[in-house]
């Protein structure tokens, strides 16, 4: 019997939702399951309601889904909010100290400090470790993998804490095991090569480090911060300079200064922070300074929904900044794709000497997917510097492809003169309007080479299907699964996912979508921003738009429901 379970762990902020879900998800991957996680949280430090969903299966997963099979509730609100999603044969596991009303007819398991760790002062450790253990017990997974993870996690807190975790997890597992469940994970075995559980932003961080990143600068803002954290925690080991800027304006200008000095540089932000960065974006383009900027989307306008997900900033990153200037825009769909695209972004920025934007969102950034190591190959670092020493050096020499040989200050006697004003080939400001024409054309010429290197289409489903679902960025997984389910149900359907959005890979997209009898675009915004871009660049447009702008990620169910009546 196929395994496909949703485990929802909910509580107030600060109660331990992550303390339960992170080791539990990892333990399930180590056991041999395929896992995808999703975080849903509010903009607050304590209280409120937050939850994580762990979907577990015995086959590859690219998407979450709706429904709950095991509900772990640390407070009453979690029960109230999610009991309606619980499957008829589902089980509620709850913290008896905080949940007083259990819905009638629901199978349940009460956990308390005193049944798990009697006579100790273990506090929230008891129920947190006990709940993780209970889930494993229900699913008939040995607890040893979990206790090892807990021991590793809490080693720094002393042997007593490690022992409490082990005891509570073990006791929880025994309690869970006693409840019969139709589904078991006992038959699943770990693959010979262990699998990885990694989030989108963690994968981007690895792509940056493997791609030779040497400088990162930013200002904290959800959901971008998780990427900034992931790089910063590894920075000392790999000699990366990390600086927290006083604001986003400083962040992008510092990154530009670092890149001018010769470091591969990254900055990033979300929504309003990027609005502050746009003048710097133009500066990078005008001075032809390589730069990678991550824009992690959340619902706007203005402060919007700070901790939720959205795909409403495509137009913002395509058109921000005064004047015409070349840029690239990439939008990965999975962590592994994000890893490769980050390495590619760093290379494109260096080779074409322009800003490269990577669009992510809260769903992409925070969700963990199960991957394998070969999906994260070694990446090439193409610095594309001109190492020979010549004077005088012209930073903006006019060339057929628009790319001027790039040198670094301090590499030799050639002076590197960069200017935000319109400038002569040697970098000095000019008001000679014939030079302006040459320089504007030179910068734009870079797009001609750049577009040749973009494509980034991912296909799934039935090749000649009359129904095509097109999407971009983080909606790859939900659309992929929706298409799979359509085909399984006898409706031929196909997915086309775009991860490289600017310069628009016009030919490849026109080829992929031109023959679609029924073209449906799936986008996490109100106006259908990719649909507009598609029409502008190819003349094609969707027959139907599936939109979502309530701050939640797409699910296969959401897409299939919207498709009813047209497919």
């Amino acid at each position: 019997m196929a395994v496909d379970l949703n485990i929802l762990i909910g509580g107030a902020a600060g109660q331990g939702v992550h303390a339960i879900s992170l080791p539990l998800a990892k333990a399930l991957v180590r056991h041999g399951c395929q896992v995808i996680t999703r975080q849903d949280y509010q903009s607050r430090i304590r209280g409120g309601h937050l939850f994580n969903v762990i979907r577990v299966a015995d086959r590859p997963l690219l998407s979450g889904r709706e429904g709950v099979d095991l509900l772990v509730a640390l407070n009453q609100e979690t029960v109230t909010l999610h009991q309606g999603e619980l499957a008829p044969d589902g089980v509620l596991i709850y913290d008896a100290a905080h949940v007083k009303e259990v819905p009638a007819g629901v199978r349940s398991l009460a956990l308390s400090h005193d049944t798990l760790l009697p006579g100790t002062q273990a506090g929230e450790i008891a129920v947190n470790a006990g709940a993780s253990g209970a889930v494993l017990g229900l699913l008939q997974v040995p607890v040893a993998g979990l206790t090892q993870l807990l021991a590793d996690t809490f080693a720094g807190k002393g042997p007593e804490v490690v022992e409490w975790n082990e005891k509570a997890a073990t006791r929880g597992q025994e309690l869970g095991e006693a409840i019969p469940l139709a589904v078991t994970l006992a038959g699943i075995t770990a693959p010979p090569e262990p699998r990885l559980l990694i989030s989108g932003h963690e994968a981007l961080a690895l792509g940056a480090l493997a791609g030779g990143l040497k400088f990162i600068c930013g200002y904290p803002m959800t959901p971008w911060t998780s990427l900034f954290n992931a790089v910063s925690q590894r920075a000392a080991e790999w000699q990366v300079v990390v600086e927290q800027a006083e604001d986003e304006i400083a962040a992008i200008n510092m990154a530009i200064g670092a890149s001018y000095a010769g470091a591969r540089a990254l900055t990033g932000t979300s929504g309003g922070g990027f609005c502050l960065m746009t003048e710097g974006l133009g500066l990078a383009a005008m001075t032809e300074t390589p730069l990678v900027i991550v824009v992690a989307m959340r619902p706007g306008p203005s402060t919007g929904l700070p901790t939720r997900t959205d795909q409403g900033d495509l137009n913002l990153v395509l058109y921000s900044g005064q004047g015409d200037f070349p840029r690239a825009v990439l939008a990965p769909g999975t962590p592994a794709q994000g890893y490769l695209l980050m390495a590619k972004a760093l290379n494109l920025a260096d080779r074409y000497q322009l800003p490269v934007l990577i669009l992510t969102d809260q769903y992409f950034g925070d969700s963990q997917l199960t991957h394998t190591a070969p999906e994260f190959p070694e990446v090439a670092v193409e610095r594309a510097l001109s190492l020979e020493t010549t004077t005088p050096y012209e930073r903006y020499a006019l060339t057929p492809d628009g790319v001027s040989p790039r040198r670094l200050p301090g590499m030799g006697p050639g002076l590197v003169v960069a200017d935000s004003d319109e400038h002569t080939p040697d970098g000095h400001l000019t008001e000679d309007l014939s030079v302006r024409i040459q320089m504007q054309a030179k910068r734009q010429r870079k797009l001609e080479g750049l577009v040749q290197e973009l494509g980034g289409l991912t296909f799934a489903g039935a090749e000649e299907a009359p129904l095509t679902l097109a999407c971009w960025g983080s909606s790859l997984g939900p659309v992929h699964e929706a298409v799979t389910r359509l085909n399984q149900a006898g409706t031929p359907a196909r997915m086309v996912h775009l991860s490289e959005l600017w310069p628009f890979p016009r030919e490849a997209v026109a080829r992929a979508l031109g023959s679609a009898q029924k073209l449906v675009l799936v986008e996490g915004n109100y106006t259908g921003q990719l649909n507009g871009l598609l029409r502008q660049e190819t003349g094609l447009q969707a027959h139907h738009l599936i939109r979502r702008y309530d701050g939640l990620p797409f699910t296969p169910e959401y897409i299939l429901k919207d498709l009813k009546g047209i497919a």
């Binding site: 262990p194 480090l209 990390v242 800027a245 001018y260 301090g410």
Partner: protein, 284 residues
């Protein structure tokens, strides 16, 4: 001593008589005397008449955008420890548009020399009041005069323990040259504000106006620039008497000492990047 013509660059577009000319001359002399070659210094600037400074001096140049001189210079310094890094900005650029970056630079203490060309007016945009315009200063936008007092940036610097704080005057070239030399050799953030008359748009704060008021702070008996409270008094002094010279000094570690040291050779030709297998180890 290097020859001064080593630093000759393109022709300037400043107004005849502009206070920027004696500043450029004194700066070139300071470089020549310190034997800092054009390829050994980067000058970062923003937007304004003062920000054209690096174009008129042979050096590595990054002429960025209004107000953002210090972040660019700081990013550069964190990557390159070898070149002298000088940030040049006007009073509008550094104190108005870029004020937050100035506060952050005082805290960070990067090994950068900041030179502000303070003419108490917006020159490039033709005569509006700047953050340092005196109360009552009139312009097309402020026909009744600026209703509030100027920003005391030097006092702000002292209050924030900026590691070297000084004021020069474009009308005293030799003294200014020596301040440039001291600023360029100071390890840490050196903040040199220069009174730079704008001959076109500021008819109040002229060469004559400054000459009647400036004095050398070093001539104050027993003056000690490491005495914070005394320095604060001198930094706030403005109006009838305006002190020139090194007002405050405090030994602090430079920002970049807390960061990994990057070498230009390995930046240009990375020999090794983190092995992916090591990076992935956290995720099993």
């Amino acid at each position: 001593m290097l020859p001064l013509d080593l630093y000759d660059s393109i022709e300037s577009a400043w107004c005849p008589g502009c206070g920027n000319f004696p500043m450029l001359k004194a700066f070139k002399e300071a470089l020549a005397e310190l034997e800092i070659r054009p390829e050994e210094i980067v000058v970062v600037s923003g937007i304004g008449q003062s920000s054209k400074f690096p174009h008129y001096l042979k050096c590595h140049t990054f002429n960025g955008i209004h107000g953002r001189t210090l972040p660019v210079a700081t990013g550069f310094r964190l990557v390159n420890r070898d070149l002298k890094v000088v940030a040049v900005a006007g009073d509008g650029d550094c104190y108005g548009e870029g004020g937050n970056h100035l506060l952050a630079a005082f805290r960070r203490n990067p090994d950068i020399t900041l030179v502000t060309h303070n003419n108490q007016v917006y020159g490039l945009t033709k005569g509006q009041a700047s953050p340092t315009s005196d109360q009552g200063f009139k312009s097309l936008i402020q026909p009744q005069g600026v209703p509030y007092p100027p920003l005391h940036t030097l006092a702000l610097a002292v209050a924030q323990d900026c590691s070297w704080v000084a004021r020069g005057f474009a009308g005293e070239g030799e003294h200014l040259k020596n301040l440039y030399k001291e600023a360029l050799t100071h390890k840490g953030f050196s903040f040199l504000e220069v009174l730079q008359p704008c001959v076109t748009f500021n008819k109040i704060n002229t060469y004559k106006w400054y000459r009647q008021r400036v004095y050398r702070v070093a001539e104050t008996p027993d003056y000690d620039p490491e005495n914070e409270l005394w320095a604060y008094q001198k930094a706030k002094e403005w109006g009838e008497r305006i002190p020139l010279g090194v007002i405050y000094r405090k030994v602090r570690p430079a920002l970049e000492e807390a960061y990994p040291r990057l070498e230009i050779k390995s930046l240009a030709r990375p020999e090794s990047t983190p092995p992916v297998s090591r990076l992935l180890a956290d995720f099993y």
